[in-house]
């Protein structure tokens, strides 16, 4: 009998299933006893939060789709019907609408965590690259979802974003016509966006599976950025990190609920409550907040193809980040110069977001150009050279002994001290 799994579960039913399909053993191994670095701070919650966000988005999305009509004459009204007539439709739609923002907030913090603690470095390069794929899929999904209510911002957002492809030399206009299924954003466009908006989240689930599988091969990074050396450096995932993640999930859901119940339209744009009108562009077309930095980069370049290339390049550069950063030290804690510069990058991206929210006039153009330049400078120039020039602080011997007193002497106490900096 080759292949039957020898199960350790005492419960006969679980044992019977586990012998034939060892899912219980798998869960126990990957989420029960899974050895996890014991020094995580709350930044390590955000992967789990993103998974929670994705699940809530899929569930609310399925129920919204039951009441939504993807037709240019009915889409806007069907969304209003969801808001007024469908039982709890207002709640489901507001959760979904604000869920996009919540999803992006946690994913951006998750990415920042990766940047700050060097989670993209060997051997986690592929894990990181799969993450960038997830980000691109999320952006595509969010963009197409925003088109579905068929308000003014939906329509003109769709027009502007699809027109980005017209910058491609020679075949550009053909690509745009193909994307539209016509000669302007119209019913065929709406239909295909709805179809893809429903499909892509499940593609995200599939790629997410690869992301998690890769993570469970390399193991998690940690705030010290050094590898796990012995079982003393780890804790079983359950109950230590299931509980820590649950605390984060509670706070996360509280903030989400506050947004849904008290400021449901705070992050949206009022123009999207005007039905789409192909004859009049709103005075100020802006994307949702999570696209603003990229939108600013697009507008900062006074050349169509250049702007589009820079915008896509700003994300594609992340793919090669593991090779651009030449420093062998992962965590910013031990990189005195990079530790400052990463905050410059954060401020730079926030500034780009602010620029994206303002009309491209006067000082905003200048700030946009400076920030765009710095963004690429950071990744393409600063990171490769800094790795060679910077003198990192001495790395701790292990996670259990993060502090080695200078000049020898006995190590303090038997009880392993918690690493610093935990909020």
């Amino acid at each position: 009998m080759a292949g039957l799994h020898k199960s350790d579960f005492p419960n006969p039913v679980i044992n019977w299933i586990d012998t034939r399909l060892p899912v219980f053993t798998l869960m126990q191994k990957e989420y029960g006893t899974f050895p996890t670095p014991k020094n995580f701070n709350y930044f390590w919650n955000f992967g789990a939060l993103a998974v929670v966000a994705l699940m809530i988005m899929i569930v609310t999305g399925i129920f919204l789709a039951m009441n939504y009509t993807p037709n240019v004459t009915m889409a806007f009204d069907s969304v209003e019907r969801i808001m007024r007539d469908v039982n709890y439709g207002w709640l489901i739609r507001y959760v979904h609408m604000n869920g996009a923002s919540m999803f992006f907030i946690v994913v951006y913090i998750h990415i920042f965590r990766g940047l700050y603690y060097g989670s993209y470095k060997a051997p986690r390069e592929l894990l990181w690259m799969i993450g960038v794929v997830l980000l691109l899929l999320m952006m595509a999904t969010a963009f197409m979802g925003y088109v579905l209510p068929w308000g003014q911002m939906s329509y003109w957002g769709a027009t502007v974003i699809t027109n980005l492809f017209s910058a491609v030399p020679a075949v550009g206009p053909g690509i745009v016509t193909w994307l539209w299924g016509g000669f302007s954003v119209d019913n065929p466009t709406l239909n295909r966006f709805f179809s893809l908006h429903y499909l892509l989240p499940f593609v995200i689930v599939g790629v997410l599976f690869l992301h998690v599988a890769a993570l469970h091969i390399t193991g998690s990074n940690n705030p010290l950025g050094i590898e796990v050396k012995s079982p003393q450096d780890t804790l079983p995932f359950h109950p230590y990190y299931t509980v820590k993640d649950s605390v984060g999930v509670c706070v996360f859901l509280l903030i989400w609920a506050a947004l849904v119940f008290f400021y449901p339209n705070y992050l949206g744009h009022v123009d999207n409550y005007t039905p789409a009108n192909p004859l009049a562009t709103p005075a100020d077309v802006v994307p949702e907040w999570y696209f603003l930095p990229f939108y600013a980069i697009l507008r900062s370049v006074p050349n169509k193809l250049g702007g589009v290339s820079m915008m896509f390049g700003s994300i594609l550069v992340l793919f090669v980040l593991p090779w651009l950063d030449t420093s062998p030290v992962r965590s910013c804690r031990f990189r005195p110069i990079y530790r400052q510069l990463i905050w410059v990058l954060v401020v730079d991206v926030l500034l780009l977001g602010t620029v994206g929210a303002h009309p491209p006039e006067g000082i905003w153009v200048v700030i946009g150009r400076v920030c765009t330049s710095y963004y690429f400078l950071h990744f393409l120039v600063v990171l490769p050279f800094l790795g060679k020039l910077e003198r990192p602080l001495p790395l701790p011997e292990s996670i259990s002994r993060p502090v080695i007193p200078r000049g020898g002497g006995p190590l303090p106490g038997a009880a392993p001290a918690k690493p610093m900096g935990k909020p």
């Binding site: 129920f63 007539d85 039982n87 439709g89 709640l91 489901i92 038997a414």
Partner: protein, 186 residues
């Protein structure tokens, strides 16, 4: 931490029930939360307010000739409104209840003072087909009411089932006479 290593041994005795309580409270809170989230989603699949708003239909009875009936749509279902002849009323009233599959006097199926009007939901109680018989030219079965073409169920002039396989009489919609010639269904 190193200073407080000495845990009193009694602590171990109370440890287990305390941990059990914590687990119970945690799981119970999570279950209540999940239920509170699930209910709006489930309820969103119930009839929405605009569907419920369309749940009443008014019917003008004047054009319906004696001996014939019309079919109107109410909540997406066919409603038979039939103007009975005196003979049809008499046969419906006179039938002994012990001959019926679901015994019910005709007086319970029509409104007092309006016995010429029989109003039923036109859905066979067998498997949901629409029986024939509203038009005088339709087959009306042996009892002169309605005949279901799907499996041969037959109904009398009061819409009561007289021949299987249907198990029950045709259902009655809620309705009221607004005037002698106008009813409101729903």
């Amino acid at each position: 931490m190193a200073d407080t290593v000495t845990v009193p041994p009694v602590g171990h005795v109370t440890e287990a029930p305390r941990r059990d309580l914590l687990k119970l409270v945690t799981v119970a809170s999570a279950a209540i939360g999940a239920g509170a989230i699930a209910w709006p989603l489930i309820d969103s699949m119930n009839p929405s307010q605009d569907v419920l708003a369309l749940s009443a239909t008014e019917v003008d009875l004047t054009p319906i000739a004696e001996g014939s009936g019309i079919t109107v749509l109410w909540r997406g279902k066919p409603i038979f409104v039939r103007h009975r002849t005196p003979e049809e009323i008499k046969s419906a009233e006179d039938v002994p209840l012990n001959q019926l599959i679901e015994p019910q006097p005709d007086s319970q199926r029509v409104k007092p003072g309006h016995t010429q009007w029989i109003i039923v939901i036109g859905i066979c109680t067998h498997l949901g087909c629409v029986p024939l018989g509203n038009k005088p030219t339709d087959p009306r079965g042996e009892w002169g009411g309605w005949f279901c073409p799907c499996h041969g169920s037959q109904y009398d002039t009061s819409g009561r089932v007289r021949h299987g396989p249907a198990p029950l009489n045709l259902n009655l919609p809620p309705y009221a006479f607004e005037t002698d010639t106008k009813i409101k269904i729903g």
